[in-house]
């Protein structure tokens, strides 16, 4: 226990939140005053009124982020926060009930090699510090792809063999994937929840160091009133330029935001869906998610379950924390701008669904604020878009108004009043709020010289910040268009489904880039031409936005390249501490990936490609199948499918049909035999 450990009091929580809200409110108010005084000089028009409303909402959003970062900066300048979960005085606890922690990884049609490599790295990391006995590992598969399913099982069993962890590492494939990831976890709690005190929820790309896992469990032991601790996951392990730039940004600027979040949220923090430890008993009691009335995208199963689960825990009086001091928690980013946008599409739907939850009875104002913040993170895009369009329109209208210098009995000309100064101030204030957090991080870097070296030193880190700022400025308009489209599509009730995420490095082809960004280029050129022709003064202001749109195709292609990513790394640009001095758990991940890839390549060389041919994998799959009686009708259907497979080939069968074939023990054995007796064998 640290000697200066403090207790958290409700008064401190309230004081901090009031301070934060005051700062945000005051900034928004001042910005509003500035823009209103500019508008009011010539009488306010309906367009200006609309602009005022839009600007207020946007500046509110920007200043929320700015003050979070600034408070975090302030906290870090003072050497951290004494009111973080890691520094609070522990509370007495009884330590009754189950002792173990389950590491649970829900997966859905993910690359089995990457999943296994990550899990092996985490387990090895726990073994290296001699703490694996405190944990059990659960692979909660929702995978539908038959080949992937069998490969997951083979990889799981290999793990058990390699680590002598039979009965400590588990695998389960759900027969029906009801309610996606939250349903997957719910089923785990239903069946095995009583066996564990905590569960650490992981994503397929999560990596957590053994020390971090142990520290999280220890923190939960020390604070029995805490239901959830979220570790801040750092993006790592990707190589494309796009993900390297984002990795750098998250790593370099992330700290101030995380400490800022902790400063004002304290015990009422949120849950990000993975890399978090959860106390199972309250989770089971309070976090069973209902189906929302109506159909998707606003009704049905709750997509972004994490925010809702945290709200339910807080509502029940449990504490939810983020732990800024926890390191060794990693995730991976989408490798390209397009993949990033695709992920956004899913998250956007989940967050917009929370619109209804803002009106749920019983939630605290804080929970409603979080829901609104989640919604705003996507709705801000169409709002910015609208703001730009209306600003352009207003500028055009103004440019068409001919000034009258002499009227009435005035002897001297009456010059038209200009609000350029006010408008420039408003713009500058907005830009300062957007860019100042980057300066805060640089200042902290200078103050922590040794850490700055891991980012390549002062010069390279500053250059990286500069280039990252240019890159984010150029990609922001593209993401704005994407997110605006997503919001409109979702409002028009078009659901996105549950597509798996692409996590592999792959360079975009020209055709892919044209398909994805063709419309952005056209919009950029068109808007540039219209503004240049009709409002040349506005055109100059619009250049940064237009540049991003017009250059979106080459930008997306170049940034998707792992080669360019590696070159920039060699140049010492966008370096992160994880790249400069690789943590052990990430080294283990790389080693496992290499080993598993080599095994896969070996299998390919020997022509042993399909798992169904492998008698061991096939037997394992059979042993793991649930014991279900098959009705006569189903038996006939399965036979018909086998004949279809023989006569027409596997391509004619759908995914669910293939799955049903390998879900039946008798048919599975038949398929195995058939795979050995096909035309490769004899003819």
């Amino acid at each position: 226990m640290p000697s200066a450990a403090k207790k958290l009091t409700p008064r401190t929580i309230t004081a901090r939140r009031i301070l934060f809200l005051l700062l945000v409110g005051l900034t928004t108010f001042l910005a509003m005053v500035m823009i209103t005084s500019a508008f009011l000089q010539n009488g306010i028009t309906p367009t200006e009124l609309l602009l005022l409303v839009l600007y207020t909402l946007l500046i509110l959003w920007v200043s929320t982020s700015f003050w979070t970062a600034t408070l975090g900066f302030w906290v870090l300048l003072r050497g951290g926060d004494r009111l973080s979960i890691g520094r609070l005085a522990p509370s007495p606890s009884t330590n009754e009930g189950p002792q173990k922690t389950a590491l649970v990884m829900p997966i859905y049609n993910e690359d089995p090699t990457r999943v296994t490599a990550g899990l092996r790295a985490m387990w090895q990391s726990l073994e290296e510090i001699g703490e694996s006995d405190r944990f059990e590992l659960f692979i909660l598969s929702d995978t539908r792809d038959p080949e992937g399913w069998m490969q997951e099982e083979a990889n799981w069993y290999q793990m058990c063999l390699d680590f002598q962890a039979h009965g400590r590492i588990f695998y389960r494939n759900r027969e029906r994937n009801i309610a996606r990831k939250s349903g997957n976890l719910e089923e785990f709690c239903h069946r095995w929840g009583g066996r564990y005190r905590y569960m650490v929820v992981l994503d397929a790309d999560s990596i957590m160091a053994g020390e971090t896992l142990v520290k999280m469990a220890d923190l939960m032991d020390a604070h029995p009133g805490v239901a959830l601790i979220q570790s801040p996951p750092l993006p790592a392990n990707q190589h494309s330029l796009f993900s390297r730039i984002l990795q750098f940004a998250s790593s370099f600027y992330g700290d101030i935001f995380i400490w800022g979040i902790n400063y004002w949220q304290l015990s009422g923090s949120g849950y990000w869906g993975h890399n978090a430890i959860i106390r199972i008993a309250p989770f089971v009691t309070h976090c069973g998610l209902p189906k929302l009335p109506g159909r998707e995208p606003f009704g049905g199963e709750i997509f972004s379950h994490d925010t809702v689960e945290a709200a339910l825990l807080r509502q029940a009086g449990w504490e939810v924390w983020i732990a800024p001091e926890l390191k060794g928690s990693y995730e991976e980013l989408p490798p390209t701008l397009i993949d990033y946008a695709k992920r956004d599409r899913r998250w956007c739907q989940g967050n917009l669904q929370h619109l209804r939850l803002v009106f749920a009875k019983g939630f605290s104002s804080l929970s409603r604020l979080y829901f609104l913040m989640g919604i705003m993170s996507y709705v801000s895009s169409p709002l910015w878009f609208l703001f730009l369009v209306l600003t352009g329109f207003e500028a055009y209208v103004k440019s068409q108004t001919m000034p009258v210098y002499f009227f009435g009995d005035n002897l001297f000309p009456v010059w038209p009043e200009s609000y350029a100064v006010e408008m420039t101030t408003v713009l500058l204030v907005t830009l300062v709020m957007l860019f100042l957090p980057k300066i805060w991080s640089l200042i902290l870097g200078v103050l922590h010289w040794r850490r700055l070296k891991l980012y390549g030193g002062l010069f390279k880190a500053t250059l990286s910040v500069f280039l990252e700022s240019i890159f984010s400025m150029l990609t922001a308009p593209v993401l704005m268009i994407y997110q605006s489209k997503f919001v409109v599509a979702i409002l028009m009730r078009r659901s996105v489904g549950w597509p798996p995420q692409n996590r592999d490095d792959h360079r975009l082809s020209l055709w892919e880039a044209i398909q994805a960004h063709g419309e952005h280029t056209v919009i950029g050129l068109l808007a540039g031409w219209v503004s240049y022709e009709h409002v040349p003064g506005f055109f100059l202001w619009l250049v940064p936005v237009l540049a991003g749109l017009v250059l979106s195709i080459p930008l997306s292609m170049v940034s998707s390249s792992a080669w360019v990513g590696v070159i920039t790394r060699k140049m010492g640009l966008f370096l992160t501490p994880e790249e400069s001095k690789e943590p052990r758990v990430l080294t283990l991940l790389s080693e496992n990936l290499q080993m598993l890839e080599a095994q896969k390549a070996g299998r390919r060389r020997t022509g042993e490609v399909r798992n169904i041919e492998d008698p061991g994998v096939c037997a394992l799959h059979l042993a793991l199948l649930p014991n279900r009686p098959v009705k006569k009708r189903q038996r006939h259907q399965l036979r018909a499918l086998v004949y279809e497979l023989i006569e027409e080939g596997p391509e004619t069968l759908s995914g669910p049909q293939k799955r049903s074939l390998i879900s039946d023990p008798e048919t599975l054995v038949k398929l195995h035999t058939l795979s050995w007796s096909d035309d490769r064998g004899v003819r």
Partner: protein, 151 residues
């Protein structure tokens, strides 16, 4: 007539080769044992299907190989005869996926079989632990302006 016999022999050789390959995949390394088991499987297959129907012949021979392998495995593991395919599948998985084990042992019927059984007993696939259920009921949500969730 001679041509039919030659074709038949060609098919048999190909089938035999494939069955031998299958035995090797099952972990057998003793070539004499492989040859003898494969020949037995082929002859059993021939009794069940037409001589020139190569695919059916191979299928039957492979099924016979599986049956013999399972029989030997069940004997080695001391598994009682049963219609339940799961325990045998688990033993088969443990045996086939364990590193550096030769299936020749299964057909030797000596003391090594017992050692094998003991070493593999702790490696039988255990995909899930015994259930320890908790009730997790959906929390009803009431809304202002919107329809509430089912109770």
């Amino acid at each position: 007539m001679n041509q039919v016999v030659m074709e038949d022999e060609g098919v048999a050789d190909a089938v035999l080769e494939r069955v031998q390959e299958y035995w090797r995949t099952l972990g057998l390394s003793d070539e004499v044992l492989i040859d003898s088991l494969s020949a037995d499987c082929l002859s059993r297959g021939r009794r069940l299907v037409s001589r020139t129907h190569s695919e059916a012949l191979l299928r039957r021979a492979l099924e016979e190989a599986q049956r013999r392998f399972d029989h030997a495995l069940a004997a080695a593991f001391g598994l009682p005869p049963s219609n339940d395919p799961y325990p045998l599948a688990a033993a088969r998985a443990a045996f086939l996926m364990a590193p550096d084990i030769s299936a020749d042992t299964l057909f030797r019927h000596d003391d090594t079989t017992r050692q094998l059984r003991e070493s593999l007993a702790g490696q039988l696939p255990q995909s899930t632990p015994p259930e320890s259920p908790l009730e997790m009921l959906p929390v009803p949500l009431d809304f202002w302006l919107f329809q509430s969730t089912d109770r």
